[in-house]
């Protein structure tokens, strides 16, 4: 797996505001001896992409309640949530349901 794991991260519903107002990020996760899961993706996002106010995106080791996670358009609740093992070319969408309107 030279060159790491290439995936797409998307943010919507207002969550993009915390990521420099950019909805789509093509990223390469560095090669690592453990498999990448969402559990260790979240701190990576916090260190590498999150521009401000981590408490509005994360709570403890998971996402803040009210932020939905979809892996390749499927509910992460059906995929093991934090334990989902990320594969190359996955698209992971974080969509916030926290703002009114």
């Amino acid at each position: 797996m030279a060159g790491g794991l290439k995936i797409t991260l998307e943010f919507g519903g207002g969550a993009e505001l915390l990521f420099g107002n950019s909805k789509k990020h093509e990223v390469t996760l560095p090669t690592c001896d453990k498999p990448w899961t969402i559990r260790n993706l979240l701190p990576w996002i916090k260190d590498n992409l999150l521009k401000e106010r981590p408490e509005l995106f994360l709570q403890g080791e998971t996402v803040r309640p009210g932020i939905l996670v979809l892996v390749n358009d499927a509910d992460w609740e059906l995929l093991g949530q934090l334990d989902y093992e990320i594969e190359a070319k996955d698209t992971i969408l974080f969509i916030s349901t926290l703002h009114g309107g």
Binding site: L17, P65, D73, L78, T97
Partner: protein, 472 residues
């Protein structure tokens, strides 16, 4: 009506373990993509989308409120859920023959950029995006501004299309900003904005000759509203805020056709149809979660959803049931309603009511430890009197010198703007709105039409008072 999903009424049922199911539990064919918590099922994409559409149509259908002659104004903010509302409406109009919606629909966008301090360029860009989104469905669309409530006359709605330009009335916007800036707490600011938005919707609907308004609140939003309303002392009007139909206004009903869908279902629907949205930040978007009561309720409900999902629908359904008994109250004349939110004033200040207690503690704090004596208590409104029916026009507030002194000459108190005091306005408000008005610093900051109504009602009241001695 209250039998909706009653099978899962578990009060504090813990979140079920994720369903490791290989196939959709509806069609048993495709791979599931979403776990729907209310019904504890995992559905595939097609079954899920059909489920959302069905919920929307059945909510409208079983209300038995829609008539072919109806003209509906869909409130469209550009947000995810309001776009889902448009999409579902459009789907309803594209159905074949007997399933097609027969009513007509128009779309209204309210520009609130002024309050949020967005630069004009951002607001114009948002307007264009909103225009593009509504245009693709072929609805006729209009836009207006939240500040139009400071304009007492004239038309407020402007047709919206991709060439529309935002015209800003600097004076009214300054007034609106002033009003919001004058309110000290974020809770009261949000509450005021909500009331203003509601008034603009109703006014626009009347202007566009619509007899119904659709708004896009999800069941999750309504659970948040319930907790917020209770915390804000708006329990009496809660059923208007959270049930399918708000009929406070005599001509225009506000309906909430998405109220059986959760924010999760709505978000997934928008993802699957690739519905774009404009993110327009709200006052509290980036605020701390304990910055206002509304934000706190939101945090609470979201955490419930996460850990005890069925509890959210319990909150929601409890609120709905609380409403059904009080919503049968007879409609009074316009003089008995709160001038801000149009809820009927129950006017009874029972001894030891919370409004009395608030009044009392306010009095004590304003007098300070040395100023309080036996006489101070007489300043409080009498317990068995209604707040509306008070004979004095200045109440216990400190503003009295601006009021009665000049009033006696003409016998018509409140004929000039400077004579209308905040406490006068407060008396025309329900308990919840009184808390907002109490947070406002000056009367002149209030929207023109509220001042106008307050003045008319106050005039009527004092006229009644001045002739009451001549009546038997």
């Amino acid at each position: 009506m209250c039998s909706r999903n009653d099978q899962d009424d578990g009060l504090m049922e813990e979140k079920p373990k994720p369903l490791w199911t290989e196939v959709c539990q509806k069609c048993s064919a495709a791979k599931p993509v979403i776990q729907i918590l209310q019904i504890k099922h995992a559905y595939c994409r097609d079954c899920f989308l059909a489920h959302v559409n069905h919920k929307f149509r059945s909510t409208l259908g079983k209300s038995k409120m829609m008539r072919p002659s109806d003209v509906v104004m869909a409130a469209f903010s550009g947000s995810v859920k309001s776009h889902v509302l448009l999409h579902l409406l459009h789907a309803g109009f594209s159905e074949k023959s007997h399933k097609r919606f027969l009513f007509k629909t128009q779309v209204l966008y309210i520009d609130e950029g002024a309050v949020l301090g967005l630069p004009l360029s951002d607001r114009s860009a948002n307007l264009r995006l909103v225009a593009e989104m509504s245009e693709q469905y072929g609805f006729s669309a209009y836009f207006t501004s939240l500040s139009c409530q400071h304009d007492n006359q004239g038309l407020v709605c402007v047709p919206l299309n991709k060439d529309s330009a935002l015209s800003v009335n600097v004076e009214f916007e300054a007034e609106l900003n002033n009003l919001i800036a004058n309110i000290s707490s974020l809770t009261a600011k949000e509450d005021m904005l909500k009331q203003l938005r509601q008034q603009v919707l109703l006014r626009a609907a009347k202007e566009l000759k619509c007899n119904k308004i659709f708004t896009a609140e999800s069941s999750t939003d309504l659970a948040i509203h319930i907790l917020t309303d209770v915390s804000l002392g708006r329990g009496a009007q809660m059923h208007h805020d959270v049930s399918f139909c708000d009929d406070r206004d005599e001509e225009v009903k506000i309906l909430r056709p998405l109220l059986e869908l959760s924010s999760k279902e709505i978000a997934f629907y928008s993802v699957y149809f690739k519905l774009s949205s404009v993110f327009i930040p709200s006052l509290c978007s980036k605020a701390q979660c304990d910055s206002s009561i509304h934000n706190l309720s939101k945090k609470f409900v979201m955490e419930l959803m996460e850990n005890f999902p069925s509890t959210v629908s319990t909150v929601f359904r409890t609120g709905e049931k609380l409403g059904s008994s009080s919503s049968t109250s007879v409609r009074g004349d316009q003089e008995d309603v709160c001038i801000l939110c149009q809820v009927r004033l129950v006017g009874t200040a029972a001894p030891c009511s919370s409004s009395q207690a608030t009044e009392f503690s306010r009095l004590i704090s304003s007098l300070g430890p040395s100023g309080f004596d036996n006489n101070s208590l007489t300043c409080l409104p009498p317990t068995d009197d209604t707040f509306l029916g008070q004979s004095s026009c200045c109440g216990p507030s400190q503003n009295s010198e601006t009021c009665c002194v000049k009033a006696d000459v003409s016998g018509k108190c409140g004929s000039g703007q400077d004579m209308l005091t905040l406490s006068d306005v407060e008396k025309l408000c329900c308990y919840g709105c009184r808390l907002i008005v109490h947070d406002v610093k000056t009367v002149s900051g209030l929207p023109a039409n509220i001042i106008e109504t307050a003045r008319i009602r106050k005039g009527l009241q004092s006229m009644r008072d001045s002739i009451k001695d001549f009546l038997l």
